[in-house]
């Protein structure tokens, strides 16, 4: 195993965020208020996770990070598409809950929407972290 540089730690952080995003999405989509788990969102996120994890594994094994940074460059694109679909599925209820008084007093609705927004944030941060990885060395030369 080669000496790890800061980039690999950031990649690990990004990987954790990607997994967190997936978990938040799955929980939010099956929490009772929403029941609309979309395979596309989950699949795109899983592929991003696999790309990141595989790249990191190969980097650590081979000591060459060119594969990792290439895969890391692709992963946020997948996450972006997943996030857009996720947002598209939540726009209507967010408008109800936050933009009107249609759900005023409905704690379940408010919690579900807040959870969805938290999910957007986690996706966005995961995307940003993954992109940031590309700018860092993964292993010490």
């Amino acid at each position: 195993m080669k000496k790890m540089s800061i980039g690999i730690y950031v990649a690990g952080f990004a990987l954790i965020l990607q997994i967190a995003a997936l978990i938040v999405y799955c929980v939010n989509s099956t929490n009772g208020y929403y029941n609309d788990l979309r395979v596309t969102v989950a699949a795109l996120t899983v592929v991003a996770i696999v790309l990141t994890a595989a790249g990191a594994g190969m980097t650590l094994k081979q000591g060459n990070d060119s594969m990792l940074i290439t895969l890391l460059a692709v992963a946020p694109i997948l996450l972006a598409v997943a996030l857009a679909i996720f947002i598209g599925a939540r726009v209507e209820t967010i408008a109800w809950v936050l933009g009107s008084n249609l759900e005023a007093g409905n704690a379940t609705a408010m919690a579900a929407v807040q959870q969805a927004i938290a999910g957007f944030v986690v996706y966005a941060v995961a995307m940003a972290a993954t992109i940031v990885c590309v700018f860092f060395k993964q292993v010490k030369e």
Partner: protein
């Protein structure tokens, strides 16, 4: 360093590609919400292209207003008049009112923070409200400023626990209800929130030694408020009160101790106490009625922006009150038979309802209620039971349902009866004649009204009928109210001593009874029919009882009385008539009327529970109890799971024509503008051009702002609600329309129009309109909304709320007129006819039987056919059958176990068949993808679903709704084509076509935000390519392999 450079280019590539991917992926989302985004930005996504050489008058409908100043002035004027005629004086001891020029003190948080409209739905734009204090001041009544300061100080304190995203809430303003658009096994109690005067000093700076009482002591005006709201309910008794709040209240609609303390403080300020009731749900005010220190009670409902001016007109004496109650004020609301089955009642086997598609909550299928009270809601219960106590029938005096728990007596049960109202003058009504013409199915009454007092005023004539209750009825389960409103009229303002004949002509179909067991159609029983008039239902039934020679009557206030038999006319029918009303005549051929709702009766299903309907034949033995623990059996589960219609893939019923290319001979929708003949063959010619995909999109995507190229369909914006264009400012929409861009176009508004921000939902809520008993005034309001529509170019208003008030606990009663079906019916006709004069589609809602908000999406309402037809359906019938409205919005609820929109018996056979309705039908907001099913909606005749997301994806709830999957189902596609015809017919005959002729084209325009998105996509695309190129080049320079 070199590696860092390469990483940088790749990193930049990743950033730009990610942003590009995000924008591209958001494209469909933005397209889905395009109409909403544009509406909120005040822009339009399309424009009308007009052949300027056209010589046609493009504008069928023209506004009566020359400019927006006239529009605003008319709103203010009718807003004031509506409440002046629609506020109801219930008590006026010692002529406490009027009080011109008085100095008064206002008490209660409701005095300064009343509900002007619904908290949600039919609300009043806050910035336009004229407050009670302002209105009184304008009308010459001075208001105590010191107490005003106290209340305003308390009213400005925010509730730190509330608010959040929806904005601040206030700790001491009248409590609001808890809303939910979801479904739940929980209910929320209501907190009245009136602060006790004991905290006035600490919180509001009240000083008992400097409170202004002595200077403003002519009267103390106390306001008690209860909110109205969509998506919320009150609940009977203690269940309805939020735990730990509202001490001393036994019901959310009763007073609590804090309110009593406010009243006590008011009594310190003045010897004259005037109470205003600011609520659309009838409150329990018997204690105010009985309180000799309370001199006057005025019900004001929720008065809209300008209604307080009308209230002030009454208080000052500028106007003599002429309103009459649209609902019965019961002593204890929870004692009514309907209240026994209301609210949150779960199926006992909720989990069994769940299936592989979703849970019972996803299916919106977990709850129900049974209208075991039969026809006996509101006054039909109280006055019928009263009549039977007098007549000695049906154990009416038994303890069941009695407030005192011993024997039922009218004076213990009703505070103020339906139709009751006082005036500053007195009137004498003489029923001069009643002409019953069975051949022409009409009853015509002439009533002379004379002002016998000393003040000018208007009077209401209420025509009632008492039908015979026969052995046939008992044998066949037909119920008859002892008295029922047939129709009404209102005089002009009569000077003292003046008189006027009021003529009322009513279709006898509205006095026929529905017999679902024997004749299976409408009937008139053999026997004597008694027609009478009176100041409310109680006075009317007393007249009839007196004509029958009965004594021992009590009046509206509980005192001994006798009726006026001279005001009773009798008509006799020799034999049971089962044929005259067995057909409707709204189409080309008579349409047979027979049972359509057998399956909405709980007893149809052979479930573990049955219902015994309340019968006047045995009040004690049939008085409802709560029917809970119902288990949905296998047959019920099929309906509850919303999976009824099976799409056919090899149809044997022929094919349906779509997508014909007529080439140069093609028609546009504008070619059928104002074609009122539904059978004109050009409709079919036009429909032939429609593609199946277009027909499917019309139903499933609900975008009234989407062009349909095959027929050049225009946009036709729509709005809620019963108090006008809800939330629409005059200048807020459709900036690309002709009346925004062409100064010569009718209803032209420049961008700098000073009234551009004026909101149009200004009028009092429907119960106040109903209380006017003035059809002409409601027609006039309909005309105002019709004119509004020409200025804002909105063609549909979901505005005619016609459900009946089954109970005061339905907090959405503010969007419906009354407990009485005929008051709803006649006001619904007036409202629609007024609007229709200006081409507005005034669409009644929520069709039908939507009588509670709790779990309203999908709740099963079990009801027998007589109750439905003589209740909610009769309330709607006039608008469709007599006013020929061109639109309708359906209800959220089920009827029986069946999705409302898919109930063919009601939707197709009654609405379209019996009533001849040819207009468009929209669902309410699609809330619950697995409940609102598109295929069942199509079969039911729905023309557009309030759907705003794509449910036709392979993993969506409407996955089956694709051209390939349904194209061979001639029944389904046939309905889609037929539904499109109804939609086009309505639009073509509305003001949506104003400004159109056959040369008109619709063009989509790229809005600024769409341009921004496209521009960003281009920029990010270019940057992605450039970064990627630099990344590749950075390798090639070194001869490395990109990897």
């Amino acid at each position: 360093m070199k590696q860092a450079g390469k990483r940088s280019w790749l990193g930049l590539t990743s950033i730009f590609a990610t942003l590009l991917a995000f924008l591209v992926a958001m494209g469909p989302v933005a397209e889905t919400w395009r109409g909403t985004i544009n509406a909120n930005l005040g822009i339009s996504g399309s424009r009308v292209v007009q052949d300027l050489s056209s010589e046609n008058d493009l504008y069928t409908y023209k506004s009566i207003w020359a400019n927006t100043n006239e529009l605003v002035a008319h709103h203010k004027d009718i807003g004031e008049r509506m409440s002046a005629e629609g506020s109801v004086l219930l008590k006026n001891d010692g002529n406490a009112l009027p009080m011109a020029g008085a100095n008064v003190t206002l008490f209660g948080m409701g005095a300064y923070y009343p509900f002007y409209g619904g908290s949600m739905g039919s609300s009043a734009p806050e910035g336009q409200n004229v407050s009670l204090a302002e209105a009184l001041t304008q009308k010459g009544i001075s208001v105590n400023p010191k107490m005003q300061a106290v209340y305003e100080a308390m009213g400005s304190i925010e509730d730190e626990a509330g608010g959040g995203f929806s904005g601040p809430t206030y700790l001491y303003r009248p409590g609001k209800l808890s809303n939910s658009f979801g479904v739940s096994n929980e209910v929320s109690g209501y907190e009245i929130r009136e602060p006790s005067p004991s905290i006035y000093t600490e919180v509001g700076g009240y000083n008992a030694n400097d409170n202004g009482f002595s200077q403003y002591s002519d009267a103390a005006i106390v306001v008690f408020s209860r909110p109205s709201s969509e998506a919320a309910d009150y609940y009977p008794g203690a269940l309805g009160i939020k735990e730990g709040t509202s001490a001393g209240a036994t019901d959310p609609l009763g007073l609590d101790d804090a309110e009593r303390e406010v009243l006590a403080l008011a009594k310190q300020a003045s010897d004259k106490i005037v109470v205003l009731i600011n609520s659309n749900s009838t409150m329990e005010i018997e204690e105010l009625k009985q309180d000799s220190e309370v001199d006057a009670i005025l019900w004001i409902g929720t008065p809209g922006n300008y209604g307080m001016l009308g209230v002030a007109d009454i208080l000052s004496g500028a106007v003599s009150p002429s309103g009459h109650l649209p609902d019965t004020y019961a002593v204890v609301n929870a004692n009514s038979p309907a209240a026994q089955n209301f609210g949150m009642i779960p199926y006992a086997n909720q989990d069994e309802i769940s299936d592989s598609k979703g849970t019972y909550a996803d299916l919106r299928a977990g709850w129900y209620y049974v209208t075991a009270e039969s026809i006996y809601t509101g006054y039909r219960y109280y006055e019928t039971r009263y009549a039977d106590t007098v007549l000695g029938n049906g154990n009416a005096s038994s303890a069941v349902g009695a407030s005192n728990g011993s024997a039922w007596a009218y004076q213990n049960e009703v505070s103020y009866p339906f139709g009751y109202g006082l005036s500053y003058t007195t009137f004498e009504q003489t029923l001069k004649s009643v002409d019953v013409d069975l051949g022409n199915r009409t009853v015509t009454a002439v009533v002379n009204v004379k002002n016998t007092g000393s003040v000018a005023g208007k009077d209401v004539v209420q025509l009632y009928v008492s039908l015979p209750y026969t052995q046939y009825d008992i044998d066949n389960g037909v119920e008859k109210a002892a008295i029922q409103l047939l129709d009404f009229g209102k005089t002009s303002e009569l000077a003292p001593g003046a008189d006027e004949d009021v003529k009322i002509s009513v279709d006898m179909k509205y006095m026929a009874s529905y017999d679902s067991k024997g004749a299976k159609t409408y009937i008139l029983d053999a026997g004597d029919y008694y027609f009478t008039v009176g100041n409310g239902a109680h006075a009317a039934v007393n007249n009839v009882l007196t004509a029958l020679g009965r004594t021992g009557l009590v009046d509206e206030l509980g005192g001994s009385t006798s009726g006026n038999s001279a005001n009773v006319k009798t008509w006799n029918l020799a034999a049971l008539d089962t044929t005259t009303f067995a057909f409707s005549y709204d189409g080309d051929v008579p349409y047979a009327i027979t049972n359509q709702m057998d399956d909405t009766d709980l007893n149809y299903w052979n479930a573990n529970k049955t219902v015994t309907y309340l019968s006047r034949n045995d009040w004690a033995g049939t008085f409802p109890t709560k029917i809970d623990g119902l288990i949905a059996n296998s047959e019920m589960l099929v309906r509850l799971r919303n999976d009824v219609y099976e799409i056919r893939h090899s149809d044997v019923e022929g094919t349906v024509t779509f997508g014909v290319d007529h080439g140069a001979e093609s028609l546009k929708l504008a070619d059928l503008k104002d074609v009122s003949d539904f059978d004109d063959e050009r409709w079919d010619y036009l429909l032939d051009q429609l593609t199946l995909q277009d027909a499917m999109d019309l139903l499933s995507r609900y975008d009234t702002e989407t062009e349909i190229p095959s027929i050049e369909r225009p946009l036709f914006p729509q709005a809620d609600g019963p108090n006008g264009f809800n939330g629409w400012a005059i200048g807020g929409t459709n900036s690309n329309l002709a009346n925004r861009t062409d100064s010569s176009a009718p209803c032209y508004m420049s961008e700098s129009d000073p009234n551009a921000g004026y909101s149009l939902n200004t009028i009092a809520n429907e119960p106040v309109m109903a209380a006017t008993f003035n059809k002409e005034l409601v027609d006039e309001w309909g005309q105002v909304v019709g004119n509004d529509s020409l200025w804002v170019r909105g063609a549909i208003v979901w505005g005619n709320g016609l459900n009946t008030h089954r109970l005061p606990y339905n907090s959405r009663n503010h969007e419906y007129f009354s407990e009485d079906a005929m008051l709803c019916n006649r006001m619904g006709v007036a409202y629609a006819e007024g609007a229709k004069k200006f081409g507005l589609i005034m669409a009644p809602k929520h069709f039908a039987l939507n009588t509670q908000e709790t779990n309203r999406v999908g709740i099963s309402e079990f009801i027998n056919e007589q109750t439905a037809r003589e209740g909610d359906l009769r309330a709607f019938q006039g608008a469709f059958e007599d006013a020929d409205v061109l639109g309708a919005m359906t209800a959220f609820n089920r009827i029986g176990c069946t999705y409302m929109n898919g109930h063919v018996g009601v939707m197709q056979n009654i609405l379209r068949g019996e009533w001849g309705f040819k207009g468009l039908i929209s669902t309410d907001m699609v809330n619950g993808d697995l409940y609102f099913q598109v295929r069942e909606s199509a079969i039911g005749g729905v023309t557009m679903m309030a759907n705003s997301s794509d449910k036709m994806q392979p993993d969506g709830a409407w996955y089956y709704f694709t051209v390939d999957n349904i194209k061979n189902d001639a029944v389904l596609t046939g309905h889609l084509r037929e539904n499109a015809k109804y939609l086009f017919y309505a639009v073509a005959n509305s003001n949506a076509m104003n400004g159109f002729d056959s040369s008109t084209r619709m063009e989509r325009v790229t809005t600024w935000w769409e341009g921004l998105m496209i521009g960003a996509e281009v920029v990010f695309g270019l940057l992605t390519v450039a970064s990627l190129a630099m990344y590749v080049l950075s390798y090639r320079k070194k001869g490395e392999k990109v990897g």
